[in-house]
């Protein structure tokens, strides 16, 4: 295959921690075959060399938090045949979407010495809220096997095989004893999408919901169980207010407004 025939891959970053992009660098053994199959046209974590678009596949990390971001994502979309968002920031707004439930100007006054220099918007939103997205890869961070699957699938012109079932299925397939049933440990696994391999339950902890809602989440029912296990309403609220706080079903499960500590449901 000649270099010219290789598809061009671009990797773009918005408001995020870079962890998801670094997952690609973490694919040590698989990285060479990837580099062989695609021309990595723009990947600033790995190289400062930048090639112009158009891109066959754009991987986009991070959420939209500034007016400049909102314009840049339009340009990237216009320049990409396929656009795949990676990670909780790009697919749901990330942890920084907590601002959506508060007053962002108040945050900037607390955090920055000269808040008047900060140009930001009131919300942190998913890429899919701004442009059409071909596939959303969940996770905080994404899982490397799933990332390779997505890249392989787009190279092979097929749909990625990324299950949308619950984390519980991964517990059962690997033989992990359910921490919720056997220990009474609160766990978000039943409402969370698989992908991590049920990492936390395998270390005797409940799931924190890193991969966002599974395709048929029943958060109100799980909420009842969490309360029954002894979590108080503010704790239930906080457990849904993490990396995927702005995903619609987690947003609804947490409640519309922040609950002060010790407050009602």
């Amino acid at each position: 295959m000649t270099a010219a025939a290789r598809p061009k891959l671009g990797i773009f970053k918005f408001a995020s921690c870079d962890g998801c992009q670094l997952t690609l660098l973490d694919c040590e053994d698989e990285l060479l075959p990837v580099a062989d199959r695609v021309e990595i046209a723009d990947f600033r974590e790995a190289s400062s060399a930048v090639l112009d678009g158009p891109y066959d596949l754009a991987l986009v990390e991070g959420s939209i938090t500034t007016p400049g971001d909102a314009e840049r994502i339009q340009a990237i979309r216009a320049n990409a045949r396929h656009l795949v968002t990676i990670g909780a920031c790009a697919t749901a707004g990330g942890i920084q979407a907590l601002r959506n439930f508060a007053d962002v100007r108040e945050y900037t006054r607390v955090v920055y010495a000269r808040p008047e220099y900060i140009r930001t918007v009131a919300t942190s939103t998913a890429i899919g809220d701004h442009v059409p997205v071909d596939f959303e890869l969940r996770g905080c961070p994404i899982q490397k096997g799933q990332l390779l699957e997505v890249i392989t699938a787009f190279l092979g012109h097929r749909t990625p095989n990324v299950p949308t079932e619950s984390v519980c299925v991964e517990c059962k397939r690997r033989g992990t004893v359910c921490v919720l049933v056997a220990r009474g440990t609160p766990c978000l696994g039943p409402v969370t999408q698989a992908g991590c391999g049920a990492l936390c339950p395998s270390f005797d902890r409940g799931c924190y919901g890193c991969f966002g809602p599974q395709d048929s989440p029943n958060a109100p029912s799980l909420r009842g169980k969490l309360l029954e296990l002894g979590m108080d309403p503010p704790a239930v609220h906080r457990i849904y207010r993490t990396f995927n706080a702005n995903a619609p079903s987690f947003r609804a499960a947490a409640g519309a407004t922040d609950v002060p500590a010790g407050g009602g449901p």
Binding site: P163, C168, V169, K172, V181, A182, D215, S216, N218
Partner: protein
Amino acid sequence: MTATPPTAIAPSGELLSVGSRHTLERSDFPRFLAALGTAGYRVVGPIVRDGAIVYGEIHQESDLPIGWTDRQEAGTYRLERRNDDALFGYAVGPQSWKKYLFPSRERLWTAHRTDGSFRVDAEPTDGPAFVFLGVRACELAAIAIQDRVFRSGGDPGYAARRARTLRVAVQCGVAGGTCFCASMGTGPAVGGDHDLALTELLGEGRHRFLVEVGSPAGASVLHSVPLRPASAPDLGAAGAVVARTSASMGRSMDLHQIRDLLVETPEHPRWASVAERCLSCANCTMACPTCFCHSTEEVPDLTGEHVERWRRWDSCFHSAFTELHGSPVRKSTPSRYRQWMTHKLATWYDQFDRSGCVGCGRCITWCPVGIDLTEEVAAIRAMPGVRTAAGGTGG
């Protein structure tokens, strides 16, 4: 009573005939385990791990859950100490033997691109011969159901694994809080379909086992094990164990016309009410020892030169499981729960001439929100008038 002196049993096979019953002293149990190893088997059985009794490798008797039991209710499971040193004093845990016979992930074949074509290599079917130590009556029934699906269905991997397996059954000395095998006609007494069956006898200050030979393969591992013919009191004590367990079932299920009851009530309001609680998490189907649904996927590598076909456990609770032409047939949770329970308890009769449920209670215990199919059936039965014409299965 004067104890009969132990008699070495001649390897003639005479005294070890199928159906013969013998007594094994607790102190000789390690020799029984050793005999299984010497016969070339890898012994898997109950072990305590992560707060539950699961199935894993048994290297010595101290791997067994000595003195442990479980307390089970809908949605909860807790390990507890017993006040004796029973080896098998628990009911069934979260796992079942299907993890060995029908693994949760299994490669079926590998294909490689060759000049202008491709070559498919089937997965080898060799592997270790297992002893399943501590198989309960309900689990023997579940294995028989999966045999019907996979063995009779021509699955070479399953058939090979199953043929190599020796099943050492154990009579239940205690029923779990969610057990209802007595209603389903699958237990608690172990029937004839096993290689060996043990009854643990703890009374009268003597810890011993009644051993019943179930097959020639079972007999063949006993030649070096010190046994003596079972005495009438031991036989009586063993019968009492099963009777006591049978009388202490945690749950029951009324099977009267259950097929018609469920098939004729697709619009019963109970389906919507259970779906308000159901998380569509699939724990029930994963834990169920008879659920056999799976999906197969092709996994190509990045070069596109090699592809593997994998099979993994899947579930009717997943929307993607019923995806046809890009959209799931069963979009809603009521339709999925109804599919699961109606198949398991009703249309299974049409398909396999029996119920798909063996009454082990796993789906009840391991449901995070404690949904109990015995309770759901009772609720539908209590209001059976809400019937519509059979066959309405809309999502």
